[in-house]
Symmetry: C2
Subunit: 299 residues, 2 copies
Protein backbone atom coordinates (compact mmCIF):
# COMPACT_ATOMS: atom_id res chain seq x y z
CA UNK A 1 0.00 0.00 0.00
CA UNK A 2 1.32 3.45 -0.70
CA UNK A 3 2.01 5.90 2.10
CA UNK A 4 1.41 9.64 2.34
CA UNK A 5 3.54 11.39 4.96
CA UNK A 6 3.27 14.95 6.20
CA UNK A 7 5.96 16.52 8.36
CA UNK A 8 8.92 18.85 8.47
CA UNK A 9 11.65 19.37 5.89
CA UNK A 10 14.71 20.99 7.40
CA UNK A 11 18.31 21.96 6.96
CA UNK A 12 20.10 20.92 10.14
CA UNK A 13 23.46 21.86 11.60
CA UNK A 14 24.49 19.19 14.05
CA UNK A 15 27.52 18.71 16.23
CA UNK A 16 28.26 15.42 18.00
CA UNK A 17 31.42 14.02 19.63
CA UNK A 18 32.21 12.55 16.20
CA UNK A 19 32.18 15.81 14.22
CA UNK A 20 29.79 18.30 12.74
CA UNK A 21 27.69 18.84 9.65
CA UNK A 22 26.27 22.17 8.44
CA UNK A 23 22.91 22.67 6.68
CA UNK A 24 22.41 19.00 5.98
CA UNK A 25 19.09 17.58 4.88
CA UNK A 26 16.84 16.77 7.84
CA UNK A 27 13.29 17.04 9.17
CA UNK A 28 10.80 14.40 10.24
CA UNK A 29 9.22 13.93 6.79
CA UNK A 30 12.66 13.51 5.22
CA UNK A 31 13.84 10.75 7.55
CA UNK A 32 10.45 9.08 7.58
CA UNK A 33 10.06 9.00 3.81
CA UNK A 34 13.57 7.70 3.15
CA UNK A 35 12.99 4.81 5.56
CA UNK A 36 9.42 4.19 4.41
CA UNK A 37 10.33 4.14 0.72
CA UNK A 38 12.48 1.05 1.29
CA UNK A 39 9.27 -0.95 1.57
CA UNK A 40 6.35 1.05 0.13
CA UNK A 41 5.73 3.77 -2.42
CA UNK A 42 5.95 7.03 -0.46
CA UNK A 43 4.42 10.45 -1.13
CA UNK A 44 5.69 13.41 0.84
CA UNK A 45 3.84 16.54 1.95
CA UNK A 46 5.99 19.38 3.21
CA UNK A 47 7.28 22.87 2.66
CA UNK A 48 10.75 24.23 1.88
CA UNK A 49 12.24 27.56 0.84
CA UNK A 50 13.94 28.52 -2.37
CA UNK A 51 17.28 27.79 -0.67
CA UNK A 52 16.40 24.09 -0.61
CA UNK A 53 19.25 22.35 -2.42
CA UNK A 54 18.71 20.47 -5.66
CA UNK A 55 20.49 17.47 -4.15
CA UNK A 56 17.64 17.20 -1.62
CA UNK A 57 15.13 16.83 -4.44
CA UNK A 58 17.51 14.39 -6.15
CA UNK A 59 17.59 12.28 -3.02
CA UNK A 60 13.80 12.00 -2.95
CA UNK A 61 13.67 11.17 -6.67
CA UNK A 62 16.41 8.55 -6.30
CA UNK A 63 14.22 6.79 -3.75
CA UNK A 64 11.14 7.08 -5.94
CA UNK A 65 9.46 9.38 -3.41
CA UNK A 66 6.61 11.39 -4.89
CA UNK A 67 7.31 15.10 -4.26
CA UNK A 68 4.13 16.51 -5.77
CA UNK A 69 3.11 17.51 -2.24
CA UNK A 70 6.43 19.20 -1.48
CA UNK A 71 5.89 22.92 -1.91
CA UNK A 72 8.86 25.20 -2.55
CA UNK A 73 7.98 28.79 -1.60
CA UNK A 74 9.78 32.12 -1.47
CA UNK A 75 11.89 32.31 1.70
CA UNK A 76 14.22 30.10 3.70
CA UNK A 77 13.81 26.44 4.66
CA UNK A 78 13.22 25.52 8.32
CA UNK A 79 16.63 25.40 10.01
CA UNK A 80 17.66 23.74 13.25
CA UNK A 81 21.03 23.69 14.99
CA UNK A 82 21.90 21.34 17.81
CA UNK A 83 24.77 19.92 19.78
CA UNK A 84 24.85 16.49 21.43
CA UNK A 85 26.55 15.76 24.76
CA UNK A 86 29.21 13.09 25.01
CA UNK A 87 26.86 10.17 25.64
CA UNK A 88 24.57 11.24 22.76
CA UNK A 89 21.46 10.91 24.92
CA UNK A 90 21.06 14.62 25.48
CA UNK A 91 21.25 17.54 23.15
CA UNK A 92 21.10 21.31 23.31
CA UNK A 93 19.22 23.26 20.69
CA UNK A 94 21.49 26.07 19.48
CA UNK A 95 18.85 27.70 17.26
CA UNK A 96 15.47 27.04 15.66
CA UNK A 97 14.47 29.13 12.63
CA UNK A 98 11.00 28.11 11.50
CA UNK A 99 11.16 30.28 8.35
CA UNK A 100 8.67 29.04 5.72
CA UNK A 101 7.61 26.17 8.03
CA UNK A 102 5.92 28.70 10.31
CA UNK A 103 3.10 29.25 7.80
CA UNK A 104 2.86 25.61 6.70
CA UNK A 105 -0.74 24.79 5.72
CA UNK A 106 -0.46 21.31 4.24
CA UNK A 107 -2.57 20.73 1.15
CA UNK A 108 -2.80 17.22 -0.20
CA UNK A 109 -2.54 17.03 -3.99
CA UNK A 110 -5.60 15.35 -5.55
CA UNK A 111 -3.55 12.24 -6.34
CA UNK A 112 -2.75 11.74 -2.63
CA UNK A 113 -6.30 11.86 -1.29
CA UNK A 114 -7.34 8.31 -2.00
CA UNK A 115 -4.13 6.64 -0.80
CA UNK A 116 -4.60 3.84 1.72
CA UNK A 117 -2.04 4.90 4.35
CA UNK A 118 -1.34 8.28 5.95
CA UNK A 119 1.34 9.22 8.46
CA UNK A 120 0.86 12.43 10.38
CA UNK A 121 4.40 13.40 11.34
CA UNK A 122 5.27 15.74 14.14
CA UNK A 123 3.42 19.00 13.28
CA UNK A 124 0.78 20.98 15.18
CA UNK A 125 -2.18 18.71 16.02
CA UNK A 126 -4.60 21.16 14.33
CA UNK A 127 -2.70 20.67 11.09
CA UNK A 128 -2.69 16.91 11.60
CA UNK A 129 -6.48 16.97 11.97
CA UNK A 130 -6.83 19.17 8.92
CA UNK A 131 -4.73 16.82 6.77
CA UNK A 132 -6.75 13.86 7.96
CA UNK A 133 -9.97 15.62 6.91
CA UNK A 134 -8.59 16.08 3.38
CA UNK A 135 -8.44 12.32 2.77
CA UNK A 136 -11.32 11.12 0.62
CA UNK A 137 -11.53 7.62 2.02
CA UNK A 138 -10.51 6.39 5.46
CA UNK A 139 -6.84 5.38 5.33
CA UNK A 140 -4.80 3.46 7.91
CA UNK A 141 -3.49 6.43 9.90
CA UNK A 142 -0.33 6.74 11.98
CA UNK A 143 0.64 9.71 14.13
CA UNK A 144 3.66 11.08 15.93
CA UNK A 145 3.78 14.16 18.15
CA UNK A 146 6.17 15.91 20.53
CA UNK A 147 6.44 17.45 24.00
CA UNK A 148 5.89 20.98 22.61
CA UNK A 149 2.36 20.18 21.36
CA UNK A 150 1.52 18.31 24.55
CA UNK A 151 2.60 21.42 26.48
CA UNK A 152 0.71 24.01 24.47
CA UNK A 153 -2.13 22.08 22.86
CA UNK A 154 -2.86 19.00 24.91
CA UNK A 155 -6.57 18.80 24.10
CA UNK A 156 -5.93 18.91 20.36
CA UNK A 157 -3.24 16.23 20.67
CA UNK A 158 -5.78 14.01 22.40
CA UNK A 159 -8.43 14.78 19.78
CA UNK A 160 -5.98 13.77 17.05
CA UNK A 161 -4.96 10.58 18.90
CA UNK A 162 -8.58 9.53 19.07
CA UNK A 163 -8.92 9.62 15.29
CA UNK A 164 -5.93 7.51 14.32
CA UNK A 165 -5.08 3.81 14.27
CA UNK A 166 -1.40 3.83 15.21
CA UNK A 167 0.33 6.18 17.62
CA UNK A 168 4.13 6.26 17.60
CA UNK A 169 5.62 8.29 20.44
CA UNK A 170 8.64 8.23 22.67
CA UNK A 171 8.41 7.15 26.28
CA UNK A 172 8.82 10.60 27.83
CA UNK A 173 6.01 11.92 25.67
CA UNK A 174 3.52 9.24 26.67
CA UNK A 175 4.46 9.77 30.31
CA UNK A 176 3.89 13.51 29.87
CA UNK A 177 0.61 13.07 28.03
CA UNK A 178 -0.87 10.61 30.53
CA UNK A 179 0.80 12.17 33.61
CA UNK A 180 1.99 8.70 34.61
CA UNK A 181 5.58 7.78 35.43
CA UNK A 182 5.31 4.01 34.89
CA UNK A 183 5.64 3.57 31.14
CA UNK A 184 3.44 0.45 30.89
CA UNK A 185 0.70 2.10 32.89
CA UNK A 186 1.09 5.18 30.67
CA UNK A 187 0.73 2.94 27.59
CA UNK A 188 -2.46 1.38 28.96
CA UNK A 189 -3.94 4.81 29.56
CA UNK A 190 -2.99 6.08 26.13
CA UNK A 191 -4.58 3.09 24.41
CA UNK A 192 -7.81 3.77 26.26
CA UNK A 193 -7.98 7.06 24.35
CA UNK A 194 -8.68 5.22 21.12
CA UNK A 195 -5.79 3.98 18.95
CA UNK A 196 -5.70 0.21 18.45
CA UNK A 197 -1.93 0.28 18.16
CA UNK A 198 0.74 2.09 20.14
CA UNK A 199 4.48 2.05 19.52
CA UNK A 200 6.62 3.43 22.34
CA UNK A 201 10.14 4.41 21.28
CA UNK A 202 12.83 4.20 23.97
CA UNK A 203 15.93 5.44 22.15
CA UNK A 204 18.99 3.26 22.74
CA UNK A 205 16.80 0.77 24.63
CA UNK A 206 14.61 -0.09 21.67
CA UNK A 207 10.84 0.09 21.46
CA UNK A 208 7.70 -1.76 22.38
CA UNK A 209 4.40 -2.33 20.62
CA UNK A 210 0.92 -2.68 22.05
CA UNK A 211 -1.39 -4.04 19.37
CA UNK A 212 -4.89 -5.17 20.31
CA UNK A 213 -3.77 -5.86 23.89
CA UNK A 214 -0.74 -7.89 22.87
CA UNK A 215 2.72 -6.58 23.64
CA UNK A 216 5.93 -7.02 21.68
CA UNK A 217 9.29 -5.61 22.68
CA UNK A 218 12.39 -5.20 20.56
CA UNK A 219 15.84 -3.94 21.64
CA UNK A 220 17.79 -1.41 19.63
CA UNK A 221 20.17 -2.98 17.15
CA UNK A 222 23.60 -2.97 18.86
CA UNK A 223 25.64 -0.49 16.84
CA UNK A 224 29.09 0.12 18.23
CA UNK A 225 29.29 3.75 17.18
CA UNK A 226 26.42 6.24 17.16
CA UNK A 227 27.55 9.18 15.01
CA UNK A 228 24.37 11.29 15.02
CA UNK A 229 21.04 10.17 16.51
CA UNK A 230 19.03 13.02 14.89
CA UNK A 231 16.02 11.53 13.10
CA UNK A 232 16.31 8.03 14.56
CA UNK A 233 12.71 8.10 15.79
CA UNK A 234 11.47 9.25 12.39
CA UNK A 235 13.48 6.58 10.58
CA UNK A 236 12.03 4.02 12.99
CA UNK A 237 8.51 5.23 12.28
CA UNK A 238 9.15 5.24 8.52
CA UNK A 239 10.58 1.73 8.53
CA UNK A 240 7.71 0.49 10.71
CA UNK A 241 4.93 2.13 8.73
CA UNK A 242 6.50 1.40 5.35
CA UNK A 243 6.91 -2.27 6.24
CA UNK A 244 3.21 -2.47 7.17
CA UNK A 245 2.48 -1.05 3.72
CA UNK A 246 3.78 -4.27 2.16
CA UNK A 247 0.56 -5.95 3.30
CA UNK A 248 -2.91 -5.06 2.11
CA UNK A 249 -4.29 -6.13 5.47
CA UNK A 250 -1.41 -6.34 7.98
CA UNK A 251 -1.84 -8.94 10.73
CA UNK A 252 -0.44 -9.13 14.26
CA UNK A 253 2.72 -10.91 13.08
CA UNK A 254 3.29 -8.22 10.44
CA UNK A 255 3.14 -5.52 13.11
CA UNK A 256 5.80 -7.39 15.08
CA UNK A 257 8.07 -7.76 12.07
CA UNK A 258 7.50 -4.08 11.29
CA UNK A 259 9.04 -3.31 14.73
CA UNK A 260 12.18 -5.17 13.63
CA UNK A 261 12.45 -3.25 10.36
CA UNK A 262 11.81 0.10 12.06
CA UNK A 263 14.64 -0.74 14.45
CA UNK A 264 16.99 -1.65 11.61
CA UNK A 265 16.33 1.54 9.63
CA UNK A 266 16.96 3.60 12.79
CA UNK A 267 20.20 1.69 13.41
CA UNK A 268 21.55 2.61 9.99
CA UNK A 269 20.41 6.20 10.35
CA UNK A 270 22.42 6.83 13.52
CA UNK A 271 25.64 5.54 11.97
CA UNK A 272 26.16 8.73 9.93
CA UNK A 273 25.24 12.38 9.88
CA UNK A 274 22.01 13.36 8.15
CA UNK A 275 20.72 10.84 5.59
CA UNK A 276 24.08 9.46 4.41
CA UNK A 277 23.71 5.81 5.47
CA UNK A 278 20.00 5.51 4.96
CA UNK A 279 20.44 6.81 1.42
CA UNK A 280 23.24 4.43 0.51
CA UNK A 281 22.50 1.07 2.16
CA UNK A 282 21.33 -1.76 -0.05
CA UNK A 283 18.37 -4.04 0.71
CA UNK A 284 20.64 -6.95 1.51
CA UNK A 285 22.24 -4.99 4.37
CA UNK A 286 18.78 -4.34 5.81
CA UNK A 287 17.89 -8.03 5.58
CA UNK A 288 21.17 -9.10 7.19
CA UNK A 289 20.66 -6.82 10.16
CA UNK A 290 17.04 -7.91 10.51
CA UNK A 291 18.22 -11.53 10.72
CA UNK A 292 20.84 -10.59 13.31
CA UNK A 293 18.31 -8.72 15.42
CA UNK A 294 15.88 -11.63 15.28
CA UNK A 295 18.66 -13.91 16.56
CA UNK A 296 19.17 -11.52 19.49
CA UNK A 297 15.56 -11.98 20.62
CA UNK A 298 15.22 -15.68 19.85
CA UNK A 299 15.28 -18.05 22.80
CA UNK B 1 23.86 -28.05 40.75
CA UNK B 2 24.01 -26.37 44.11
CA UNK B 3 25.06 -22.75 44.45
CA UNK B 4 27.22 -21.01 47.06
CA UNK B 5 26.65 -17.25 47.31
CA UNK B 6 28.67 -14.72 49.25
CA UNK B 7 27.45 -11.17 49.77
CA UNK B 8 25.87 -8.72 52.15
CA UNK B 9 23.10 -9.29 54.68
CA UNK B 10 21.44 -6.06 55.72
CA UNK B 11 18.57 -4.42 57.50
CA UNK B 12 17.27 -1.71 55.19
CA UNK B 13 15.03 1.28 55.78
CA UNK B 14 13.54 2.32 52.47
CA UNK B 15 11.15 5.05 51.46
CA UNK B 16 9.48 5.14 48.05
CA UNK B 17 6.47 7.05 46.67
CA UNK B 18 4.39 4.04 47.79
CA UNK B 19 5.37 4.07 51.47
CA UNK B 20 8.21 3.12 53.75
CA UNK B 21 9.59 0.11 55.57
CA UNK B 22 11.99 0.18 58.54
CA UNK B 23 14.76 -2.36 59.23
CA UNK B 24 13.51 -4.87 56.70
CA UNK B 25 15.59 -7.79 55.55
CA UNK B 26 17.89 -6.84 52.65
CA UNK B 27 21.40 -7.20 51.30
CA UNK B 28 22.72 -8.69 48.07
CA UNK B 29 23.14 -12.24 49.42
CA UNK B 30 19.59 -12.19 50.80
CA UNK B 31 17.90 -11.21 47.54
CA UNK B 32 20.18 -13.42 45.50
CA UNK B 33 19.66 -16.53 47.59
CA UNK B 34 15.88 -16.18 47.77
CA UNK B 35 15.69 -15.96 43.97
CA UNK B 36 18.32 -18.65 43.40
CA UNK B 37 16.69 -21.14 45.77
CA UNK B 38 13.61 -21.26 43.52
CA UNK B 39 15.66 -23.35 41.11
CA UNK B 40 18.75 -24.74 42.85
CA UNK B 41 19.89 -25.67 46.36
CA UNK B 42 21.50 -22.52 47.74
CA UNK B 43 24.14 -22.03 50.43
CA UNK B 44 24.71 -18.57 51.81
CA UNK B 45 27.92 -16.99 53.15
CA UNK B 46 27.50 -13.77 55.06
CA UNK B 47 27.71 -11.96 58.35
CA UNK B 48 25.07 -10.45 60.62
CA UNK B 49 24.93 -9.04 64.14
CA UNK B 50 23.14 -10.32 67.19
CA UNK B 51 20.28 -7.95 66.31
CA UNK B 52 19.51 -10.05 63.25
CA UNK B 53 15.86 -11.06 63.62
CA UNK B 54 14.81 -14.67 64.02
CA UNK B 55 12.32 -14.22 61.19
CA UNK B 56 15.26 -13.57 58.84
CA UNK B 57 16.70 -16.98 59.68
CA UNK B 58 13.20 -18.48 59.36
CA UNK B 59 12.93 -17.04 55.88
CA UNK B 60 16.15 -18.72 54.77
CA UNK B 61 15.09 -22.03 56.35
CA UNK B 62 11.67 -21.87 54.71
CA UNK B 63 13.41 -21.66 51.34
CA UNK B 64 15.75 -24.51 52.20
CA UNK B 65 18.75 -22.17 52.10
CA UNK B 66 21.79 -23.56 53.90
CA UNK B 67 22.89 -21.00 56.54
CA UNK B 68 25.95 -22.82 57.82
CA UNK B 69 28.05 -20.06 56.25
CA UNK B 70 26.01 -17.27 57.82
CA UNK B 71 27.95 -16.03 60.81
CA UNK B 72 26.16 -14.19 63.60
CA UNK B 73 28.67 -12.12 65.60
CA UNK B 74 28.53 -9.66 68.49
CA UNK B 75 27.44 -6.24 67.20
CA UNK B 76 24.91 -4.76 64.83
CA UNK B 77 23.93 -5.95 61.35
CA UNK B 78 24.85 -3.82 58.31
CA UNK B 79 22.18 -1.15 57.94
CA UNK B 80 21.27 0.99 54.95
CA UNK B 81 18.68 3.74 54.63
CA UNK B 82 17.54 5.16 51.31
CA UNK B 83 14.84 7.21 49.67
CA UNK B 84 13.70 6.87 46.05
CA UNK B 85 12.62 9.79 43.87
CA UNK B 86 9.23 9.83 42.24
CA UNK B 87 10.22 7.93 39.08
CA UNK B 88 12.03 5.25 41.14
CA UNK B 89 15.10 5.43 38.91
CA UNK B 90 17.15 7.49 41.33
CA UNK B 91 17.71 7.16 45.04
CA UNK B 92 19.46 9.03 47.80
CA UNK B 93 21.36 7.15 50.47
CA UNK B 94 20.29 8.50 53.87
CA UNK B 95 22.80 6.48 55.86
CA UNK B 96 25.14 3.50 55.58
CA UNK B 97 26.25 1.75 58.78
CA UNK B 98 28.61 -1.06 57.89
CA UNK B 99 28.68 -2.40 61.50
CA UNK B 100 29.79 -6.07 61.58
CA UNK B 101 30.00 -6.12 57.75
CA UNK B 102 33.07 -3.85 57.96
CA UNK B 103 35.22 -6.71 59.26
CA UNK B 104 33.67 -9.41 57.06
CA UNK B 105 36.27 -12.08 56.22
CA UNK B 106 34.22 -14.77 54.51
CA UNK B 107 35.15 -18.33 55.46
CA UNK B 108 33.57 -21.13 53.50
CA UNK B 109 32.43 -24.04 55.69
CA UNK B 110 34.06 -27.31 54.65
CA UNK B 111 30.77 -28.56 53.18
CA UNK B 112 30.68 -25.60 50.76
CA UNK B 113 34.14 -26.00 49.26
CA UNK B 114 33.39 -28.68 46.71
CA UNK B 115 30.14 -27.21 45.43
CA UNK B 116 29.91 -26.82 41.65
CA UNK B 117 28.68 -23.21 41.46
CA UNK B 118 29.84 -20.07 43.25
CA UNK B 119 28.44 -16.56 43.05
CA UNK B 120 30.65 -13.73 44.28
CA UNK B 121 28.16 -11.03 45.20
CA UNK B 122 29.00 -7.40 45.53
CA UNK B 123 31.81 -7.27 48.16
CA UNK B 124 35.40 -5.99 47.96
CA UNK B 125 37.22 -7.70 45.05
CA UNK B 126 40.01 -8.82 47.42
CA UNK B 127 37.43 -10.77 49.40
CA UNK B 128 35.93 -12.16 46.21
CA UNK B 129 39.38 -13.45 45.19
CA UNK B 130 39.93 -14.88 48.65
CA UNK B 131 36.63 -16.77 48.60
CA UNK B 132 37.42 -18.14 45.15
CA UNK B 133 40.75 -19.46 46.42
CA UNK B 134 38.97 -21.37 49.21
CA UNK B 135 37.11 -23.57 46.71
CA UNK B 136 38.65 -27.02 46.44
CA UNK B 137 37.67 -27.70 42.85
CA UNK B 138 37.00 -25.22 40.07
CA UNK B 139 33.32 -24.25 40.16
CA UNK B 140 31.27 -22.31 37.59
CA UNK B 141 31.82 -18.82 38.98
CA UNK B 142 29.65 -15.73 38.67
CA UNK B 143 30.52 -12.25 39.88
CA UNK B 144 28.84 -8.92 40.52
CA UNK B 145 30.54 -5.70 41.59
CA UNK B 146 29.70 -2.02 42.02
CA UNK B 147 30.88 1.50 41.20
CA UNK B 148 32.56 1.90 44.63
CA UNK B 149 35.03 -0.95 43.99
CA UNK B 150 35.69 0.25 40.44
CA UNK B 151 36.49 3.68 41.91
CA UNK B 152 38.79 2.58 44.70
CA UNK B 153 40.12 -0.79 43.58
CA UNK B 154 39.90 -0.99 39.81
CA UNK B 155 42.91 -3.29 39.32
CA UNK B 156 41.56 -5.84 41.78
CA UNK B 157 38.13 -5.75 40.13
CA UNK B 158 39.80 -6.54 36.80
CA UNK B 159 41.88 -9.31 38.40
CA UNK B 160 38.69 -10.87 39.79
CA UNK B 161 36.86 -10.54 36.45
CA UNK B 162 39.64 -12.44 34.75
CA UNK B 163 39.13 -15.45 37.01
CA UNK B 164 35.39 -15.93 36.63
CA UNK B 165 33.07 -17.37 34.00
CA UNK B 166 30.06 -15.09 34.26
CA UNK B 167 30.07 -11.37 35.00
CA UNK B 168 26.75 -9.74 35.92
CA UNK B 169 26.94 -5.94 36.11
CA UNK B 170 24.76 -2.99 35.39
CA UNK B 171 25.29 -0.82 32.33
CA UNK B 172 26.74 2.19 34.14
CA UNK B 173 29.29 -0.04 35.85
CA UNK B 174 30.57 -1.61 32.63
CA UNK B 175 30.75 1.85 31.06
CA UNK B 176 32.75 3.06 34.07
CA UNK B 177 35.04 0.04 34.12
CA UNK B 178 35.85 0.14 30.41
CA UNK B 179 35.72 3.97 30.13
CA UNK B 180 33.43 3.58 27.12
CA UNK B 181 30.08 5.32 26.70
CA UNK B 182 28.58 2.98 24.08
CA UNK B 183 27.28 0.02 26.05
CA UNK B 184 27.83 -2.60 23.32
CA UNK B 185 31.38 -1.42 22.77
CA UNK B 186 31.86 -1.51 26.57
CA UNK B 187 30.54 -5.10 26.62
CA UNK B 188 32.97 -6.15 23.89
CA UNK B 189 35.87 -4.66 25.85
CA UNK B 190 34.81 -6.28 29.09
CA UNK B 191 34.57 -9.71 27.48
CA UNK B 192 38.10 -9.33 26.17
CA UNK B 193 39.23 -9.31 29.82
CA UNK B 194 38.35 -12.96 30.19
CA UNK B 195 34.81 -14.00 31.17
CA UNK B 196 33.03 -16.13 28.58
CA UNK B 197 29.67 -14.74 29.64
CA UNK B 198 28.53 -11.22 30.44
CA UNK B 199 25.10 -10.13 31.60
CA UNK B 200 24.41 -6.40 31.45
CA UNK B 201 21.52 -5.25 33.62
CA UNK B 202 19.65 -2.14 32.42
CA UNK B 203 17.04 -1.64 35.13
CA UNK B 204 13.56 -0.94 33.80
CA UNK B 205 14.84 -1.60 30.27
CA UNK B 206 15.76 -5.22 30.90
CA UNK B 207 19.09 -6.89 30.33
CA UNK B 208 21.27 -8.40 27.65
CA UNK B 209 23.53 -11.41 27.56
CA UNK B 210 26.77 -11.95 25.67
CA UNK B 211 27.63 -15.64 25.72
CA UNK B 212 30.45 -16.94 23.52
CA UNK B 213 29.96 -14.03 21.08
CA UNK B 214 26.21 -14.51 20.80
CA UNK B 215 23.88 -11.84 22.10
CA UNK B 216 20.44 -12.19 23.64
CA UNK B 217 18.31 -9.34 24.87
CA UNK B 218 15.29 -9.45 27.14
CA UNK B 219 13.02 -6.57 28.22
CA UNK B 220 11.95 -6.07 31.81
CA UNK B 221 8.64 -7.73 32.61
CA UNK B 222 6.01 -4.95 32.34
CA UNK B 223 4.82 -4.46 35.91
CA UNK B 224 2.35 -1.64 36.31
CA UNK B 225 3.49 -0.64 39.78
CA UNK B 226 7.06 -0.67 41.07
CA UNK B 227 6.82 -0.44 44.86
CA UNK B 228 10.52 -0.76 45.79
CA UNK B 229 13.31 -1.57 43.31
CA UNK B 230 15.92 -2.29 46.02
CA UNK B 231 17.54 -5.65 45.30
CA UNK B 232 16.12 -6.08 41.78
CA UNK B 233 19.59 -6.61 40.31
CA UNK B 234 20.41 -9.22 42.98
CA UNK B 235 17.12 -11.05 42.43
CA UNK B 236 17.85 -11.02 38.70
CA UNK B 237 21.31 -12.48 39.28
CA UNK B 238 19.91 -15.09 41.68
CA UNK B 239 17.17 -16.16 39.28
CA UNK B 240 19.64 -16.29 36.40
CA UNK B 241 22.36 -18.21 38.22
CA UNK B 242 19.91 -20.50 40.04
CA UNK B 243 18.20 -21.40 36.78
CA UNK B 244 21.58 -22.33 35.25
CA UNK B 245 22.06 -24.63 38.24
CA UNK B 246 19.21 -26.82 36.99
CA UNK B 247 21.58 -28.10 34.30
CA UNK B 248 24.74 -30.05 34.94
CA UNK B 249 26.24 -28.57 31.80
CA UNK B 250 24.18 -25.53 30.78
CA UNK B 251 24.05 -24.83 27.03
CA UNK B 252 23.53 -21.62 25.07
CA UNK B 253 19.72 -22.03 25.10
CA UNK B 254 19.79 -22.53 28.88
CA UNK B 255 21.65 -19.25 29.32
CA UNK B 256 18.96 -17.51 27.29
CA UNK B 257 16.15 -19.04 29.29
CA UNK B 258 18.01 -18.12 32.47
CA UNK B 259 17.75 -14.46 31.36
CA UNK B 260 13.97 -14.86 31.26
CA UNK B 261 13.83 -16.34 34.76
CA UNK B 262 16.17 -13.71 36.19
CA UNK B 263 13.86 -11.07 34.73
CA UNK B 264 10.78 -12.69 36.26
CA UNK B 265 12.29 -12.96 39.75
CA UNK B 266 13.29 -9.29 39.57
CA UNK B 267 9.77 -8.36 38.45
CA UNK B 268 8.22 -9.98 41.50
CA UNK B 269 10.81 -8.47 43.81
CA UNK B 270 10.01 -4.87 42.83
CA UNK B 271 6.30 -5.32 43.49
CA UNK B 272 6.74 -5.15 47.26
CA UNK B 273 9.09 -3.83 49.91
CA UNK B 274 11.96 -6.06 51.01
CA UNK B 275 11.47 -9.77 50.30
CA UNK B 276 7.67 -9.93 50.68
CA UNK B 277 6.68 -11.01 47.15
CA UNK B 278 9.72 -13.11 46.40
CA UNK B 279 9.08 -15.03 49.62
CA UNK B 280 5.43 -15.71 48.96
CA UNK B 281 5.03 -16.35 45.21
CA UNK B 282 4.38 -19.89 44.10
CA UNK B 283 6.18 -21.64 41.25
CA UNK B 284 3.11 -21.45 39.02
CA UNK B 285 3.18 -17.65 39.17
CA UNK B 286 6.79 -17.69 38.05
CA UNK B 287 5.97 -20.00 35.15
CA UNK B 288 3.00 -17.90 34.08
CA UNK B 289 5.05 -14.74 33.95
CA UNK B 290 7.85 -16.52 32.10
CA UNK B 291 5.33 -17.60 29.44
CA UNK B 292 3.99 -14.04 29.19
CA UNK B 293 7.47 -12.59 28.82
CA UNK B 294 8.35 -15.12 26.13
CA UNK B 295 5.23 -14.05 24.20
CA UNK B 296 6.44 -10.44 24.41
CA UNK B 297 9.65 -11.30 22.59
CA UNK B 298 8.22 -13.82 20.12
CA UNK B 299 7.83 -12.65 16.55
Amino acid sequence: MSVVVVGSIALDSVETPWGKRENALGGSATYFSLACSRFSKTRIVGIAGTDFPEKGLDLFRRHNIDTEGLKIVEGKTFRWGGRYKSNLNKRDTIYTELNVFEKFQPQLPRSYRQQPMLFLGNIHPELQLDVLSQMERKPLVGLDTMNLWIDISREKVIEALQKVDIVIMNEDEIRQLTVTSNVYEAARRLIKLGPSTLVVKRGEYGAFLCHHNEMFSVPAFPVSRVIDPTGAGDAFAGGFFGFLGKFSNPRAADYRRAMVYGTILASFLVESFSTDTIDSIIDEEIENRAKELIKIITL
